[in-house]
């Protein structure tokens, strides 16, 4: 399209659209752990792309044999990714070399890295979580979950798994012999996304029906009393409340505040301590599929991409926006 050829299309003074975006829906955006320069993007067009955010160029891309559902950095030079072909790939971003590390029995839905235990974690619709040693690289164990895995997040050495049937399981990555906690989502509808607090004390869970829950890992009653949930990503039109799925959550690493993105096309930033919304950005062209703050919390990558929530219908173009965020937008007041 014509938009892709021109550099730095500004949708505001503090925001621009990435060039050479994926050709189909975007499944995940992830910033490099060490620098704000690189962004990894996986897509339904079967590619994983690496962007130079500062220069607004695509540095490289590699292919899977089927759409890719998630990707993650292991270190600044290695990406891991998996998708509908059920294959887990690692890619050396310096040498452009592919390695197939292993497979699941069904599509891989989530890929995460746990720096504390130095292990890659994948979750799949085959009802299992698998651990992978990133150095060898090889499989380091398969752990059956009660249902299909829809989302997972790492909090220190703990792994929080969200599955179908609204179940939440907390595992100890240092001792995978048993499930540390079995929980039920406190929300009534399907779990879309779980992300752990950077301070490792809890997690935020979003559901398919416009609601977000803030939960704590410490099982003591005193701490559990603090948990709560709230409604968001709902729009009132002609007296009817339209309730949208909340697809994406990303934490600000410094302030422990978080951004949520919904199928309404809005991005909100929340202060979980004072239970307040800090700000809402303008409406993006279509559903927010994925969100990522960079390592120091000065930038937010926003994937605006239709997720086929209402079937295969015509929809606005998929796009990734890079937005500079300020303390005024992200710091608790």
């Amino acid at each position: 399209s014509s938009g892709k050829s021109t550099n730095h299309i500004m949708t505001g003074s503090n925001e621009y659209k990435l060039n050479q975006g994926p050709e189909d829906s975007i499944s995940a955006v992830k910033f490099s752990p060490s620098t704000a320069q690189f962004l990894l993007v996986s897509s339904w067009d079967c590619t994983v792309r690496l962007y130079d955010v500062g220069g607004n160029t695509m540095r490289m891309k590699y292919q899977h044999t089927a759409p890719v559902l998630d990707c993650a950095f292991y270190d600044p030079t290695h990406s891991w990714s998996g998708g509908l072909d059920a294959q887990l790939k690692t890619h050396d971003l310096n040498t452009d070399q592919d390695t197939i590390v292993g497979t699941h029995d069904a599509p891989i839905r989530c890929v995460e890295y746990c720096p504390e235990v130095n292990v890659m974690v994948t979750g799949s619709w085959d009802r299992s979580v698998r651990l992978w040693d990133p150095r060898t690289p090889c499989n380091a164990g398969t752990f059956t979950q009660p249902e299909k895995v829809y989302t997972l997040s790492v909090a220190g050495d703990r792994l929080i798994v969200g599955t179908a049937g609204r179940r939440v399981l907390v595992w100890d990555l240092r001792n995978m012999g048993y499930v540390q906690q079995r929980r039920e989502s406190s929300l009534k509808y399907q779990t879309r996304c779980i992300r752990a607090f950077p301070n490792k004390q809890g997690y935020v869970l979003s559901s398919i029906e416009g609601r977000v829950a803030v939960e704590y890992l410490d099982p003591s009653q005193e701490v559990q009393k603090k948990k709560y949930a709230f409604k968001c990503h709902r729009l009132k039109e002609e007296g009817i409340e339209h309730v949208y799925p909340v697809n994406a959550i990303s934490f600000h690493s410094v302030h422990n505040t978080f951004a949520t993105g919904g199928s309404d096309g809005f991005v909100n930033i929340w202060d979980p301590f004072n239970k307040k919304r800090l700000c809402q950005f303008h409406r993006y062209p279509t559903s927010i599929a994925s969100l990522a703050f960079n390592n120091d919390g000065t930038m937010l990558a926003i994937a605006s991409s239709y997720m086929h929530e209402k079937g295969d219908i015509s929809h606005p173009e998929d796009a990734i926006f890079i937005r500079q965020v300020t303390d005024a937008e992200t710091k608790p007041k």
């Binding site: 089927a66 009802r127 406190s186 009817i240 799925p245």
Partner: protein, 427 residues
């Protein structure tokens, strides 16, 4: 292979739920071998395939998928139970098509309803609901199942009236209905004859009695030993013999005289035929395993003062119980049960419970409201598709299914073209 299957079958007969149409022995062997160590991935894959077919189906007979899925579930999970999801599946299936008039007298749909009713605590309520909705009105199988339910409860009068209703509605197949009605009449007349015989029970039983797990008692003038009663509602001998007793005798009344149903003394309080009425009061709770109905505590006797006698609490032992030193708890259990953790588990939401019939009606109401545009909230995604099966799907799964379907079609087309070009080249 066959031997191994035989062993499985021999070892787990008691875990196999009977089916009206019986079971395929090959499927049974397979299911029993597969399920030795939990749910195999093969079963999960097959289930996922059915689940996606439910959602992707584009033909004009969506009931077919449900029918096959439910039959597969019955064959694959011979022991039934929660894992099979059968009750949920049946409930979803019958709810799904309540508005589809074309299925209302489809034998497959009516069969699903009957299976659903049989899994509910109050099947009669479901049959009445079906009647009110006009489902299965021309299907003989409904009247047969309905009548059998009345018969099991000992109400022969109503059991007969149900057949009359069936004849009035010209239910098909007529022969089958007639045949079942005749055998009901035969059973009832046998009961009556039994009663006559009982009156002059000087003689010993003419045929050897079937022995049941009840103590034998003295009866009659000669104190002849004879079978006294068989409890439970399921006493119905199909194969002749005058010994079967009709009305179930409940409780520990084994030494009391039998209550025998007398048609002429049948209660006339109720309406003379099953009334066409919308279902009124909510029946008891949902069919759950291991659920005990509230019942009389028959062993508890009231004292003169109206207080129940309670055993005094055992006093604390004055000695130290001996504990074996080597008896240590296992070092690791599969799941750590930390009492503090338990508080985190939120209780199951009460709204999920309620009776199947109540949920059916709620669904009905919601549909009507949605049609009228009354609902205040609208979900902005394909909610019906995600939740239509026994397990939920997410957007990505649905889209993945569409993707795989398209890939399969494309490869088929390519190979078709190749065949075509190959054959044309041969020409």
């Amino acid at each position: 292979m066959a031997e191994g299957g035989d062993v499985e079958w021999e070892l787990s007969k008691e875990n196999i739920q009977p089916l009206r149409r019986g079971r395929a022995i090959s499927a049974l062997h397979q299911a029993l071998t597969q399920q030795q160590d939990g749910l195999s991935s093969v079963i999960n894959q097959q289930r996922q395939a059915f689940e996606s077919e439910l959602r992707m189906y584009e033909g004009d007979d969506p009931l077919d998928v449900w029918d096959r899925y439910i039959k597969w579930t019955e064959q694959t999970f011979p022991q039934g139970g929660k894992e099979s999801n059968l009750t949920t599946l049946l409930e979803r299936a019958v709810t799904r098509f309540t508005e589809e008039k074309k299925y209302h007298n489809d034998p497959r749909y009516v069969d699903l309803w009957i299976k659903f009713a049989e899994s509910c605590p109050e099947p009669l309520d479901i049959y009445r609901y079906m009647q009110a909705q006009g489902i299965g009105m021309t299907q003989a199988s409904l009247y047969i199942a309905w009548s059998e339910e009345y018969e099991n409860q000992g109400n022969f009068h109503k059991a007969d009236l149900v057949y009359q209703e069936g004849f009035k509605k010209c239910a098909e197949p007529h022969d089958k209905l007639l045949q079942f009605h005749k055998s009901l009449q035969a059973r009832v007349s046998r009961q009556v004859m039994m009663e006559v015989e009982d009156d002059d029970s000087d003689e010993e039983p003419k045929q050897p009695e079937r022995v049941s797990l009840v103590d034998l008692k003295y009866r009659g003038k000669k104190k002849a030993i004879a079978l006294v009663n068989r409890t439970g509602p399921a006493i119905r001998s199909v194969s002749g013999g005058l010994q079967s007793r009709g009305a179930p005798v409940l409780g520990n009344a084994s030494n009391t005289r039998l209550m025998i149903f007398d048609e002429s003394k049948a209660p006339t309080a109720g309406p003379s035929e099953p009334r066409l009425e919308p279902w009124m009061a909510p029946p008891t709770s949902r069919a759950k395993e291991n659920e005990k109905r509230p019942e009389k505590w028959c062993d508890v006797k009231k004292s003169k003062f109206g207080h129940t006698v309670m055993a005094p609490p055992p006093s604390k032992p004055t000695f130290q119980p001996f504990v074996d030193e080597s008896d240590q708890p296992p070092t690791m259990t599969p799941c750590k049960i930390n009492p503090a953790v338990n508080t985190v588990l939120s209780a199951r939401k009460p709204c999920r419970e309620g009776t199947p019939l109540k949920r059916l009606q709620e669904h009905h109401l919601q549909q009507k409201e949605a049609e009228l545009g009354k609902s205040q909230e609208q979900s902005m995604y394909c909610k019906d598709l995600l939740l239509s099966g026994a397990t939920e799907f997410c957007f990505e799964e649905l889209r993945a299914e569409r993707y795989f379907k398209k890939i399969a079609q494309d490869t088929q087309e390519v190979s078709g073209q190749k065949d075509h070009s190959g054959s044309s080249a041969a020409k």
